[in-house]
Amino acid sequence: MSLYPQFAKPNTTEQASQLLSGLSTGAVIIAGGQEIMPSVNYGHLMPSVYVDINSLKDLVGINFENNELSIGALTVHRDIQNNELVKEHVPLLSYAAQWVGGGWQVHNRGTIGGNIVSMHPLYDIIPSLLILDAEVEIISAAGTNRVSISDLLNDTSHGLGSKSILSKIIIKPMSKSLGWAYEKLKITSGGYGSANSAAIVETKNSKIISLRVSVGAVSPLPVDISSSLSSLIGNEWNDSLNDIITSKCSSLFDDALSDQQGDDQWRRSMASVMAIRSIKAALKKIE
């Protein structure tokens, strides 16, 4: 065991997962490095081994097969913004990726896999994946598993520093008749949000017949609040629905964050504000 950091660049997922299973907890997987390097630079993270996964071909590429869009974990944000398959089948994700912080430099190197496994409360990708019912493929020495993104969020063993590798994200295509929106409370799109919300709505005769809404940057992890807003189904949008959303949201975020982006009480208020904004914006897309 070296006193200094070591480096490994496996060529296959089998090699990588076997290597990870034999390493101590100080090993980290690295691809674009946009999440890890700030922590390394400030001494908050001191990896014993960097496992570079950039050579793993199983983690590359965007494909549409069997009515599923598969996005390799090494896909960078810029490609999610610009790829025609993503824009056609999951335009919500393509749009949300534009709001990732750090500017083009980070969009060119930051990967969707890194964004997910960092499980950062303020990031912009997971809120959309939650309401798209996305699934992820996880590879470890024990084999390959496919789990929903919501299950992944509840399993802390899949975060940074784990012995598993997130290989791809699988999403069912969105119907063209759906309205969708991602709203982020931030002065510019270049940084952390103080609250955000993604929404997907379907209407018939102007009445809401299905509704999916998530809120991010308020709790320690983004939250799918769709079931709490089920009483909106069957209604045509009107201002009284604002009060229902505000009332429901007021009891959903007991664990609201307090940081430089805003304190917990304000964050709780902003959760409903952003949910209302995203639902209204999604409805407007249908009009």
Partner: protein
């Protein structure tokens, strides 16, 4: 699988057109490699968190923040630093001339970020709107807050580069 572990990493980089083969520590950032090992001091150190953009370079023609890029993950890539924007005699490129002629910079510490983001913008979009310029420059902070001057310089660069191509 422990035979995969290395104490040092051998990488090959083409920096501003010149080939380099380097044996480096696994944990060195591209910024430290460029500044401390290879003496490309034009790549500025700012925040070390990826927020400010003063350390921007181009990797294979795309902008990247060198302070949050682990050098050992790069091999067989083309890197352009700000020194590579001018020619070998030190003559400024049309892009740099525009920033000079319009006083685009105040202190100039953010120059790597602003110049490379402008280069990336104008390669895809030769005639950007103000909003498109603002979006493109989001990844770099100007601590002098001279954003209006920067937008003016990008517009001038768009005209200057179009004229130099016609």
């Amino acid at each position: 699988m422990e035979d995969l572990l290395e104490d040092t990493v051998l990488i090959q980089l083409r920096i501003n057109g010149k080939y380099h083969e380097l044996e480096i520590s696994p944990s060195v950032s591209l910024l430290d490699l460029l500044r401390d090992e290879l003496n490309f001091k034009g790549t500025h150190m700012g925040c070390m968190t990826g927020h400010c953009g003063a350390c921007t370079v181009m990797i294979n023609g795309k902008t990247a923040k060198s302070c949050i890029t682990l050098a050992s993950t790069l091999s067989n890539v083309d890197i352009t630093t700000i020194e590579g924007l001018s020619d070998e005699e030190g003559n400024l490129s049309p892009l740099q001339e525009s920033f000079w002629n319009t006083a685009g910079f105040q202190c100039g510490y953010c120059a790597p970020g602003m110049l490379f983001l402008t280069k990336e913008l104008l390669e895809d979009n030769p005639n950007p709107t103000d909003d498109e310029i603002k979006t493109a420059l989001e990844g770099t902070l100007c601590r002098c807050t001279g954003y209006q001057s920067l937008i003016r310089a990008v517009k001038d660069a768009a005209e200057n580069i179009s004229a130099s191509k016609s």
